[in-house]
């Protein structure tokens, strides 16, 4: 398997482990882009999804926004943004956020809607204010699905943040783009492996967050 040979060669090469083009630097850059994009997408998607889900309105608008955002080609959007806004982190964030908002928004909306209506009815009947119903009854029940939406957004971002390298930024994409131009497949495969590992780590992190944040009452009954 020459892919395995490439992987071995890439990771055993000492020069890949330090300096501005070293794995630690590129990994940090990649994490930085990814976390920033995820945070922006979450700040947009979570509140809108929670509120529309709570009131059960705007489902069609959300489906429309999601379809529209999914239709926008990420790579094309990146090139366009760079041409319009110039080089920098901003033009990279826009396509990543457009990519990540639909899964967060749609899953959050559907997660809140799919919460068992009877505890919500009971809470309202007990005189709980709407904000508390949303945050203390619906959110805990919807949390596993919401985390799932965030997780799929995070994995897509981690994978796609490689495009930052195309517009001169760093991140793991650097290895892939440089490898392509230098016809250095070792770098490409090494970069791809790093992204895959990062994706697995992301899965692990979300699993751990779910263990801590989701009430055992929800986890076992759901």
């Amino acid at each position: 398997m020459n892919v395995l040979t490439f992987i071995h060669a890439f990771f055993s090469d000492g020069s890949h482990w330090h300096g501005y083009d070293g794995i630690p630097t590129r990994l940090t850059e990649h994490l930085h882009y990814s976390l920033q994009a995820l945070a922006i997408a979450a700040v947009i998607g979570l509140p809108i999804g929670l509120i529309t889900g709570h009131y059960g309105r705007g489902g069609n608008a959300i489906a429309l926004v999601a379809t529209g955002s999914r239709a926008l080609p990420t790579f094309g959007l990146l090139v366009l943004m760079v041409m319009w806004l110039g080089f920098g982190l901003g033009p990279v964030m826009i396509p990543l956020v457009v990519l990540a908002v639909p899964p967060i928004l749609v899953t959050t909306y559907e997660a809140v809607r799919s919460v068992d209506p009877s505890p919500v009815d009971a809470a309202r009947g007990m005189g709980m204010p709407e904000s508390r119903i949303l945050l203390q009854v619906e959110l805990p029940g919807a949390l596993p699905l919401i985390l799932g939406g965030l997780r799929s957004a995070a994995i897509q971002i981690v994978s796609t943040a490689t495009i930052a390298a195309y517009v001169g930024l760093g991140g793991i994409g650097r290895y892939i783009i440089d490898g392509l131009y230098q016809r250095n497949y070792e770098k490409v495969v090494g970069g791809a492996t790093l992204v895959a590992v990062l994706a697995l780590v992301t899965l692990g992190v979300f699993w751990a967050v779910a263990r801590v944040a989701v009430s055992p009452g929800v986890r076992r009954s759901g």
């Binding site: 505890p119 009815d121 009971a122 809470a123 007990m126 009430s215 009452g217």
Partner: protein, 376 residues
């Protein structure tokens, strides 16, 4: 007192769920709203805590129009129990019960102490406090629902088909528990059900609603059974309302015969002494006084009574607490046509024939005797 004054609920699509309904719900008693599906009983209940706002008419609580009260404080002053309990699955049992006290700003420790107290009150083991709802049976969850509704000690309890989703045996236990709790606490309870038997069992007053949200009859259960207002109510009560009405007459009205009872170790003289012309059978009891079965006197050989050959005695009724309905049931179930009356300990205290039960029913009807509720 909750007063519902010509209230109508009309939905935007034109359906009328409740139509000019007026009811006066007495304090410290159970008022049951009963009717077929689509009769607006749940809508009526939900208008009392403003989960649904009436289109016309007013509802007053102790003379104050509820629509003028802040909605959340109104709801916090009324316990609310729904069909599937509606427990918060992410919270432990004790925290579920403590919800309203916490909403009212009480400390966590105090709310939890109160919650534990209520668990005992509704018959839940306190060891369940730290469990999550999914670890409880349906009946236990429903008890938690009732405890949660009682947590802030509200004067009013609204119950929307609370026992419909559990099996009949559990339901009977929950109903008995509710009557017991009510005896202790004396809440004003509004109870919605589609089950007329449940309504008759629990209600101090029963409001029968018909499809389209109109009141068909509002009366105490015994009156409902004896004089249904119209064909709809009669039909809704079912075919055997005459029999069911007997639940309101205590079995104590019966005159028991104590002679034809012999213990299993009786001598020939004792058997002869207890044989009378008007009782063709003798009831054989064990040494503890509990009934064993019937026999014809000539089949009994003193000192050698074969228990296995005795005729079954059907279902005995408790003389002190059961109703004429149970006595009649016992007489019908017994192959000899005689019912066995027992005391609290299950010892036979007398026997009574179908004819005697029939006479007692006639007498009770004649007197119009409607004693307070009798169990069973």
């Amino acid at each position: 007192m909750i007063r519902i004054d010509s209230v109508t609920k009309r939905y935007p699509d034109g359906t009328v769920a409740v139509d000019r309904l007026s009811l006066e719900i007495p304090d410290r008693s159970i008022t049951v709203l009963v009717g077929p599906s689509g009769c607006g009983k749940t809508t009526t209940l939900r208008m009392i805590n403003r989960m649904v706002e009436p289109s016309e008419g007013t509802i007053t609580l102790d003379g104050v129009d509820i629509s003028r009260q802040p909605v959340n404080s109104l709801r916090r002053s009324m316990g609310y129990v729904i069909q599937n309990a509606g427990l918060f699955q992410h919270r432990t049992i004790v925290d579920n019960i403590a919800t309203v006290p916490r909403l009212l700003g009480q400390s966590k420790a105090r709310s939890r102490a109160r919650a534990r107290e209520l668990m005992e009150r509704v018959g839940l083991d306190v060891s369940l406090a730290k469990r999550y709802p999914y670890q409880l049976s349906g009946g236990q969850q429903q008890r938690v629902g009732v405890a949660r509704a009682l947590a802030a000690d509200p004067p009013v309890l609204l119950m929307d088909e609370p026992f419909s989703a559990v099996d009949p045996i559990v339901r009977k236990g929950l109903q008995e528990e509710l009557l017991r709790i009510q005896e202790e606490l004396g809440k004003t309870i509004v109870f919605v059900t589609h089950d007329i038997d449940e309504a008759i069992r629990l209600g101090t007053m029963v409001a029968v609603l018909r499809t389209g949200g109109r009141l068909a009859q509002f009366a105490p259960p015994a009156e409902l059974l004896s004089s249904p207002a119209d064909a709809f109510v009669e039909d809704f009560l079912g075919a055997d309302r005459g029999i069911r009405r007997l639940s309101f007459f205590p079995a104590q009205a019966l005159e028991l015969k104590k002679t034809p009872i012999v213990a299993v170790d009786s001598t020939a003289e004792q058997i002869a002494a207890r044989t009378t012309p008007e009782t063709p059978y003798l009831l054989v009891t064990g040494l503890d006084g509990r009934p064993l079965g019937w026999s014809e006197p000539e089949d009994l050989v003193a000192g050698d009574i074969d228990v296995a050959r005795l005729l079954p005695y059907g279902r005995p009724f408790a003389y002190g607490t059961d109703s004429l309905r149970a006595a009649l049931d016992g007489a019908v179930l017994s192959p000899t046509g005689w019912a066995v009356a027992v005391d609290d300990a299950g010892r036979a205290v007398g026997v009574v024939s179908q004819q005697a039960v029939g006479e007692a029913i006639r007498a009770a009807h004649a007197k119009g005797l409607t004693a307070a509720k009798v169990a069973g």
